[in-house]
């Protein structure tokens, strides 16, 4: 008997329907064959399905079983076909009634018949959403991922036995209730709060601008002045993800298998801080069947590169394209995949290898050659893509005092977040009807459309551009930063004062 079960394959963030055709033939030498460009993990489904069925108290028919995963030319990977194959074998061998409703099956089986967390459930749900009235049967631990999708009935399956009882209509499985995407309102300063960082008012201001407009920020200064602490405070002041953004981010984490079981949706902006030993494939994405890299995992969030000159040059140059396009295209033998990678880059560097160049009191011990070599590791094109550069200078001893409260006007993370959220609200109003979220994502056309510079502000910029020889890209980027500063001030148009502040952060390290 031939049975067809519906499932899917995820290629990058694309979902392609897969028909799992199972034939249990009465004639022919017994065997279990899977065809359809199956990877090793899919091939091994044979043993898992067989054992899981026997251990769940079903018969594994000693007959010629042929499984075809169509379309045949699409490579299939992962253990998610265990469940559709098992259901197909059960129906084809007459141990289960034929399915009546449209349903999709997806999940990895454990040898005892329980279903294990499987990656890519959210993508399955989003695909099922495009079909009318489809239901999906997915592993219980991963099922919450799918509850955010409106028009899909999600059945959390604990074990193979539970599912068979449900399909036999003896003990039904209760579908999960739909959930609406709640963006987290409660404030959480995260690892460090801005108020705990002594001094550095200008750096804090730059951090707020970066968070508000999604601009790239370079912090430079001697060791121990708070660059890393400032970066770690950033997650606390970033605005919550909007529902659409949350879906975009969760999709990436779902295909990477990085969602903890039971998680439904990510509401916090990602903050990724890869070590400087990261490989090109780790940062940009790669592998024989391309997986998202750090730039994609930082999508709509922050990519923090601490000690940026220590990253290998070839790896670092790889982030140039995603910084400009907001996406990476990865081409490998197994296929061609595009992942979104629209991140805010926060980089921290020392002025020289010893770290004390330009320090008010300590002498730098580096030679000119060493400094030049160190600086050379940051290429011009990367620096040109950084909108905000800020010096994190050594802190005066006075401000460090623990026992006496010196400064009560320090910006707290809570205040900063309010400012950022307000500025983002203005931006989302501005960009309604476009695919943009922040000022930094504007292309030249949008800058002209939404920039709203006053003539004085533009003149001011022109003067600076001539004097310092800004590139065309820097020119546009300065307008974007000025736009964010104006948004933080609640101003309709960009005034010279906003442009002046934007120019302040355009110093070269």
């Amino acid at each position: 008997m031939l049975v067809k079960i519906n499932s899917i394959a995820n290629v990058g963030l694309e979902t392609i329907p897969v028909d799992v055709e199972v034939d249990v033939a009465d004639k022919g030498f017994p065997g279990f064959t899977i065809v359809g460009l199956a990877s090793k993990a899919v091939e091994e489904a044979r043993e898992r399905v067989k054992t899981a069925m026997v251990n769940s108290g079903f018969d594994f028919p000693p007959k010629k079983i042929m499984v075809n995963l169509a379309p045949a030319d699409l490579p299939k990977d992962g253990a998610a076909y265990d469940l559709p194959i098992a259901i197909g074998v059960l129906i084809a061998s007459g141990q289960l009634e034929r399915l009546t409703a449209d349903a999709l099956f997806y999940g990895e089986l454990s040898l005892d018949g329980t279903l294990r967390p499987t990656r890519g459930i959210l993508l399955l749900a989003l695909y099922a959403n495009t079909l009318q009235g489809a239901s999906i049967f997915v592993p219980k631990p991963s099922a919450p991922e799918a509850t955010m999708v409106a028009n899909v009935t999600v059945y959390p399956v604990g074990t193979l036995t539970d599912l068979v009882r449900h399909l036999n209509q003896t003990i039904p499985i209760k579908p999960l209730a739909h959930d609406t995407i709640r963006t987290d309102e409660e404030f959480d300063s995260g690892e460090s709060d801005l108020k705990d960082i002594a001094g550095q008012e200008q750096a804090k201001r730059a951090l707020v601008i970066a968070a508000a407009g999604g601009h790239n920020l370079l912090m430079w200064g001697p060791p121990g002045t708070g660059k890393t602490m400032l970066a770690r405070a950033l997650p606390g002041i970033l605005p919550p993800l909007s529902p659409e953004e949350a879906l975009e981010v969760t999709r990436i984490y779902s295909v990477s298998g990085l969602l903890a079981p039971g998680t439904s949706i990510l509401t916090k902006r990602p903050f990724r801080s890869p070590h400087h030993g990261v490989s090109a494939a780790g940062l940009i994405g790669g592998g024989s069947s391309p997986q998202p890299g750090e730039v994609s995992l930082a999508h709509l969030g922050v990519l923090f590169l601490d000690e940026m000159p220590e990253f290998s040059r070839s790896v670092l140059e790889g982030i140039r394209q995603p910084m400009e396009d907001g996406a990476v295209e990865i081409v490998r033998v197994m296929g061609h995949v595009k992942y979104p990678a629209s991140f805010t880059l926060i980089a921290a560097i020392n002025p020289c290898p010893c770290g004390y160049l330009g320090h008010p009191r300590r002498a730098c011990t580096c030679t000119q050659k060493m400094i030049a070599k160190y600086r050379h590791r940051l290429s011009g094109p990367i620096v040109d893509r950084i909108d905000l550069t800020v010096l994190v200078a050594p802190v005066e001893v006075e401000k460090l005092s623990v026992t006496t409260q010196v400064d009560n006007n320090t910006l707290t993370s809570r205040q900063a977040k309010l400012m950022v959220v307000k500025a983002r609200a203005i931006q989302s109003q501005r960009f309604t009807g476009t695919h943009l979220y922040t000022n930094s994502q504007m292309k030249n056309r949008e800058v002209k459309l939404f920039g709203k510079l006053t003539a004085e502000a533009e003149n001011f910029l022109k003067l600076a551009a001539e004097k310092y020889d800004f590139s065309a890209r820097s020119y546009m980027r300065l307008i974007k930063v000025a736009r964010t500063i104006a948004d933080l001030a609640g101003a309709e148009t960009i005034l010279p004062v906003h442009m002046a502040e934007a120019l302040q952060y355009k110093q070269l390290a």
Partner: protein, 117 residues
Amino acid sequence: MKKFNRQTGASAENIAANHLIEKGYGILERNFRNKFGEIDIIAKDKNILVFVEVKAKIGGDFGLPEEMISKGKLQRVRNMATMYMNGELLPCRIDVVAIVLDENNEVVRLTHYENVY
């Protein structure tokens, strides 16, 4: 135990050969062997040369006889068949006879699978 297995195998091969004769096959060779392996039965079904692998099991505690025939085993039978035909291109096929016996070597089930390779 080894000895018993051989006895079981020999009696199973007799049972299989009788079954094939009943079906109207002509037996050409029994236990055709050289240093590369062995073919249990070589028979002739009308004008088709049939290479038969016999597998027997006592009881069901250790699985089905069918499960004991792997791709590799069939490949060996195929290689042996090629050697038997010695370069001639004859119409031929490979069959498997699976036999389940009880403790008294009585046949519980006999299944003849045709053209398995």
